[in-house]
Structure formats: structure tokens, C-alpha cells
């Protein structure tokens, strides 16, 4: 390894649970990964795999009072966010860590003008005058390449298209020049051509502002195009973690392989039978101690065994070493 790559964020054995009528559900089950400075880390998995809960645990935006972090550490620039005070986490969230949500319409307040919402971030985090905050907000809109920003400042969210709204949400997240941005399915609600615009914008802003990104998505195409490192989650756990090129070239876990093979691509012959993963994503309520993917495949051997270990099998390539699912 040449040089020292600094990790801006280190998530270590994070456990997040939800209190429900059916008892305590473990949505995030000892998740560990790191985010190197200036890099993009993708978290990929199907619905209910715990990818969003992982991200929201980092900034402590869990639904209250049901969601609780029960263990582990989230080290951000030397501070443990799990144990930070509420005041401290509020300062960090929106300040040093920006968050981009999936649904731009619900992330924006429909009764306030765009300008007021963007300026508010500066008012809260920078304690500057109204006038300065307004100017800074106009600058932000320019930065996310919104045409005629001065006019747009006076618009309400419903005046804008989905792509424009997502640009505003990005402007909000980046307003305080954060060193880490958490983007939860930022382009899922958008059309492909608009998705391409937004991903391009994020990549450009990332290199301009030198920030790290955690990108949560279910789309392996988006992961392949934008991420340096990939974390694959299944059933609340990380099953595999590697550099993007390594992961796509040498997937080692049966689940990662299954996911990669089940997507139709432009290269596959038309109407060919796609490989599938049988069954469906296991409900968190059916918690097993052993291998969760064996549970989906209906392999009793893997379910009854102890929880598989998580090992670095080649430099930077980590995989859950269940004897059935780990296929070197």
C-alpha cells in the first residue's frame, strides 16, 4: 500500500434494532465498513436488507422512539457519533455530514420558497445575516447548475421538476461543504436521463469539494458507474465488501453472484432465461443466528450453524465465510 489513506468514517459492529409489536427486530446486525477520504462507497442490497437503516444510524435519523442503536461504534473524524450528544449530532448533521434523501418532494417543505429553505441551512449552521444567507443560497443553486437561480429562489418545490428538486436537495446537503455526504437512493425516483445528469453532477461536485460519499442504492449499474468501494448487504448484515472493480470481476459470495447474474443487461441474448435467486428476502422477524442467505436458500445446515465469520480473503476484499455461500 502506498501512502496512508485516511478513513473519514469507520463503522464498527453497528447494531440497530426496532421495537415492534412482534418484539425487537434487528435491522442492522453488526455491520462494519469504512469510508476512505474522498472516495465513494456504495451500499447495495434488496429492500429490507438494512442499507437505509445503516445510513440513517450513522447520522442518528432513526424513526423515534422505535429505532435504537444497541451496539457498535461510528467513528467520524475521531468522534463516536453513537454516543455524541444531541446538540453535537445536530451540528454535524447538515454541517459536516450532508444527507440526500430519495424522495425530493418529501425532503423539501412544500409551503416554503426554495430560497428560504436553502438559506435556512446557512442561518442555522453558520450564524450569518439573512442577506448573506440568501446570497450564499443563490450561489449554491448556481453550483448545482440550476438555470436562473435568482428566479428559482422564489419558487415553491411544486414548481420544479423531479430532477430540479433533487438538485435543490443536493444543494441543501452540500451547503455547508460537508466532508461526508450520505445519499440514500438519490436517483431512484428519477428517469434514466435525469439520473445520468444527477450522477454526473454529484461526481463533479465531489471532485471540486473533495468529499466522501456513501451511496445507497439497489441498482448495481449505478454502483458500477460511481463507486470506488462496494458493501453488499443481505438480511441486516454485510455479506461482502470490496473495491468496485474487484467485486464485479470476482464476486465471492453466493448472494453477490446471484444479484449480478439476475440483472438483464444489454449484452445478454433476448428472452434468455435469467438466473434467479429462489425465494424472497427473509423478513427480519424470522431472525436466525446462522447464515441468513442459507435461510433464503432453505439450507438447514447453514441456519443451525454459528454465524459465519467475516474475513479479509484478499487485500481489501472481505466476505462472510459461510461454507455454503462463500465460493472462492
Amino acid at each position: 500500500m502506498t501512502g496512508v489513506t485516511h478513513n473519514i468514517l469507520e463503522v464498527d459492529k453497528l447494531i440497530t434494532s426496532f421495537e415492534t409489536d412482534r418484539g425487537l427486530l434487528r435491522a442492522v446486525d453488526q455491520v462494519s465498513f469504512v469510508v476512505p477520504e474522498g472516495k465513494t462507497v456504495g451500499i447495495v442490497g434488496e429492500s429490507g436488507c438494512g442499507k437505509s437503516v445503516t445510513a440513517m444510524s450513522i447520522v442518528r435519523l432513526l424513526p423515534q422512539p422505535a429505532g435504537k442503536i444497541l451496539g457498535g461504534r461510528v467513528m467520524f473524524k475521531g468522534r463516536d457519533l453513537v454516543h455524541a450528544s444531541d446538540a453535537e449530532i445536530r451540528r454535524i448533521r447538515g454541517g459536516e455530514i450532508g444527507v440526500i434523501f430519495q424522495e425530493p418532494m418529501s425532503a423539501l417543505n412544500p409551503v416554503h420558497r426554495i430560497g428560504r429553505q436553502v438559506a435556512e441551512v446557512f442561518r442555522i449552521h453558520r450564524k450569518i445575516t439573512k442577506k448573506d444567507a440568501w446570497d450564499a443560497a443563490t450561489e449554491m443553486l448556481k453550483l448545482v447548475r440550476i438555470p436562473a437561480p435568482e428566479m428559482r429562489m422564489m419558487d415553491y418545490p411544486h414548481h420544479l421538476s423531479g430532477g430540479m428538486r433533487q438538485r435543490i436537495v443536493i444543494a441543501l446537503a452540500l451547503a455547508c461543504r460537508p466532508s461526508l455526504v450520505i445519499a440514500d437512493e438519490p436517483t431512484t425516483a428519477l428517469d434514466v436521463t435525469v439520473q445520468a445528469q444527477i450522477l454526473d453532477l454529484m461526481a463533479r461536485l465531489q471532485s471540486e469539494m473533495k468529499m466522501s460519499i456513501i451511496l445507497i442504492t439497489h441498482d448495481l449499474g449505478v454502483i458500477a458507474e460511481t463507486c470506488d468501494e462496494v458493501v453488499v448487504m443481505y438480511g441486516g448484515r454485510v455479506v461482502e465488501r470490496a473495491g468496485a472493480e474487484e467485486l464485479f470481476a470476482h464476486p465471492l459470495h453466493a448472494y453477490t453472484r446471484g444479484l449480478l447474474h439476475s440483472i438483464p443487461t444489454l449484452e445478454k441474448p433476448p428472452k434468455s432465461i435469467l438466473s434467479t435467486i429462489p425465494g424472497m428476502v427473509a423478513s427480519l422477524a424470522d431472525h436466525v443466528h446462522g447464515c441468513r442467505f442459507c435461510q433464503r436458500m432453505g439450507r438447514s445446515s447453514g441456519i443451525t450453524r454459528d454465524r459465519p465469520g467475516f474475513a479479509e480473503v484478499s487485500p481489501g476484499h472481505w466476505v462472510e465465510t459461510c461454507p455454503e455461500c462463500y465460493q472462492p
Partner: protein, 346 residues
């Protein structure tokens, strides 16, 4: 494909009136589908792609007469169904069915799975009670659901299983054509592939035709024989699936294809980044809609020009639009057709 098509749509328009003012007079119209001509042959899948708001779902609904067309014609097996009233339409409906995007919304939560799938038989007065029980069990088995599913309710199932219920209902009357409106876009990838495989198998077993509507181009390419690309109420390009992906001619198709993220980090493609958004179908630009979005210098020429589909290669049609074609393609179309529109499909 020159044999008689199963479905033949010609110059179809679906406009929704917009009312405003004190008297609620019509102040305008949303031109959701604005002059679409297409054919689907027996056993064929026609994929329909486009971005949200381009009118693809409206077109799908109009084709099965869930919406009333404003003008144009729809022929199903040479019967004109454009203006047939609902009562006379009913016996014809056996032959064309629809699968919807969100199976949770399209299945009645108060009905058991059995009654959902049985309902088409009852409406059409088919079979005795015992026969219907048998048919429903057969359909459940065919779409890969256990027989025990029949007595349960749709909300007890996952998204993928619900979509199987929707497919079983659509299959019940042994239709010839199924309009699939985004049938897999709400599903996880591993489930999506299960449903796509099922649709392909069913097509082979029953000789079904599909109008497959989706925004995901990889999915459409996978399942379609031919693909139609729609932009702002109009079809801008139609070709075989292979051809449209290998050799797209229309600028919008090219941009759309280049925007698909490829699941291979080695193959990061150069993207054609489009500026702006799809214009509103409430007030579409008078000329080439896509030329307008791109701010193309030749846009003024397209006002008043006939932008109908013309044959550019065997099995390949593209809108004759100088803004959206290469110079060679445009010259080729202009000289080959010298003004006359080709309206018969290849």
C-alpha cells in the same frame, strides 16, 4: 410480420381536457398520446420505452380501451374496437388483458386470491363452480404459486408473489394480448428476474403477444422482439430489439441508451447528457419536441414538418426529424421518401 397483425393502432390520439376558470370551460388539453401508429403481431413482444410523462401508460390503457381515444383507430384481429361501447366490448375483452405496475393497488384486499382469479370466469359466465375451482388451481400452479395461496388474501404475499397473482388473473381467459404496464419496476432485482422468466415462458407456452411498457431499457431489451421509443406522446423510433440497441438512429434513443448505467465498472460508457426535462404535454412545442429540448439550430425547420415514422432500414423506422438524425440519415430519408409518409408497418 406482414401477415395480419393482432393489434393495429393507427394515428391514435388521447387528449385529456384541462378545465379552468369560473365556468370550468376547457382551457387546453394534455396531449398524452399524440398520433401513434403501431402494430403487434401474434406471439410478438413490442417493448415501449420512454421517460415518465411521455404517455406510454396512457397508450397502453387506450389500447385495451380502459381509456377512450380522442381520435385514430384501434383494430384488434381486424375488428375496429375504437368506438365500440362497453357492453359490446365485453366479449372482446377476453382476448386482451392487462398487468399493472403495482400489484398491491390492482388487487382487491378484501377478496381472496381465489375470488380474484375466478372473477373473470364469473363475469364471462364460464364454467361450473367445480370447473372454476380446478381452473384457478391450474393457474396458480402455472404462475408458480402453491395451491394453498387460493384461500389467502393478496396482502399476505410479497410483491413478487402478488405480481404472480396479477399475471394469473390476466391469463385466466386465455387472452391473445397482454398489456404489461411496468410489471417489474416495483420489484427487487432477484424477484424481477423471476417474473421476467415467467413472462417469457408463458409467452412460449400460450403464444401470447405482449405490449411491454417499461422505463428500464435493459429489461425491455431483454423481453422484446421489437422496441418502440416514445417521447412526448409520439413514437420516435421503432426497430427490432437488437437493432435499436446496436444501431440507434434517433438522437433521443441514443441519449436514452447511453444513460443506462452498466453493471460493469470496466465499461463506463461516455454519456450523452441531456439538458433540461421533458417538456409538458400540456403545451408541447409546435415542431420537434426533442429538437426543442436540445435547442437545436434546425428546430425552426421542423415547425409544420411531418415528423412521421419512415423506414430507414429493413425493420427499422425513425421519425423524419432533421434535429434528431445524422445528416446522412436525414438526407437518406428525404431522398427515399420525397415527402410521402410510410404508414404501413414493416
Amino acid at each position: 410480420m406482414s401477415a395480419s397483425p393482432l393489434l393495429s393502432v393507427s394515428q391514435l390520439r388521447v387528449h385529456f381536457p384541462v378545465r379552468g376558470g369560473v365556468m370550468l370551460r376547457q382551457t387546453g388539453a394534455v396531449r398524452a398520446v399524440d398520433g401513434v401508429t403501431l402494430d403487434i403481431g401474434p406471439g410478438e413482444t413490442l417493448g415501449l420505452v420512454g421517460e415518465s410523462g411521455c404517455g406510454k401508460s396512457t397508450l397502453g390503457k387506450a389500447v385495451v380501451r380502459l381509456l377512450k381515444p380522442t381520435s385514430g383507430s384501434i383494430h384488434f384481429r381486424d375488428i375496429d374496437i375504437t368506438r365500440v361501447d362497453q357492453r359490446s366490448l365485453r366479449p372482446l375483452r377476453r382476448d386482451f388483458q392487462m398487468i399493472f405496475q403495482d400489484p398491491a393497488e390492482s388487487l382487491d384486499p378484501r377478496m381472496s386470491v381465489r375470488s380474484i382469479i375466478e372473477e373473470p370466469f364469473i363475469i364471462h359466465g364460464l364454467g361450473t363452480r367445480a370447473e372454476r375451482v380446478q381452473w384457478v388451481d391450474g393457474l396458480l400452479d402455472r404462475v408458480g404459486l402453491p395451491a394453498s395461496a387460493a384461500e389467502r388474501y393478496s396482502f399476505e404475499f410479497s410483491g413478487g408473489q402478488r405480481q404472480r397473482i396479477g399475471i394469473a388473473r390476466a391469463l385466466a381467459l386465455k387472452p391473445k394480448l397482454i398489456v404489461c404496464d411496468e410489471p417489474v419496476s416495483a420489484l427487487d432485482v432477484s424477484i424481477q428476474s423471476q417474473i421476467l422468466n415467467l413472462l417469457v415462458e408463458l409467452q412460449q407456452d400460450f403464444g401470447l403477444s405482449y405490449l411491454f411498457i417499461a422505463h428500464d431499457l435493459s429489461v425491455v431489451k431483454h423481453i422484446s422482439d421489437r422496441v418502440a421509443v416514445m417521447y412526448l406522446g409520439k413514437i420516435v423510433e421503432v426497430a427490432t430489439a437488437e437493432m435499436i440497441y446496436r444501431d440507434p438512429r434517433h438522437a433521443y434513443t441514443k441519449a436514452l441508451l447511453s444513460a443506462i448505467p452498466s453493471p460493469d465498472p470496466q465499461a463506463r460508457r461516455a454519456k450523452i447528457l441531456l439538458e433540461g426535462d421533458v417538456p409538458s404535454p400540456l403545451d408541447p412545442p409546435p415542431g420537434s419536441a426533442f429538437g426543442h429540448r436540445m435547442g437545436h439550430p434546425r428546430y425552426p425547420e421542423t415547425i409544420g414538418l411531418d415528423l412521421a415514422l419512415r423506414k430507414i432500414a429493413p425493420g427499422h423506422q425513425v421519425a423524419a426529424d432533421p434535429c434528431c438524425l445524422t445528416r446522412e440519415d436525414w438526407e437518406k430519408l428525404r431522398t427515399a421518401h420525397a415527402g410521402e409518409a410510410v404508414d404501413e408497418m414493416i
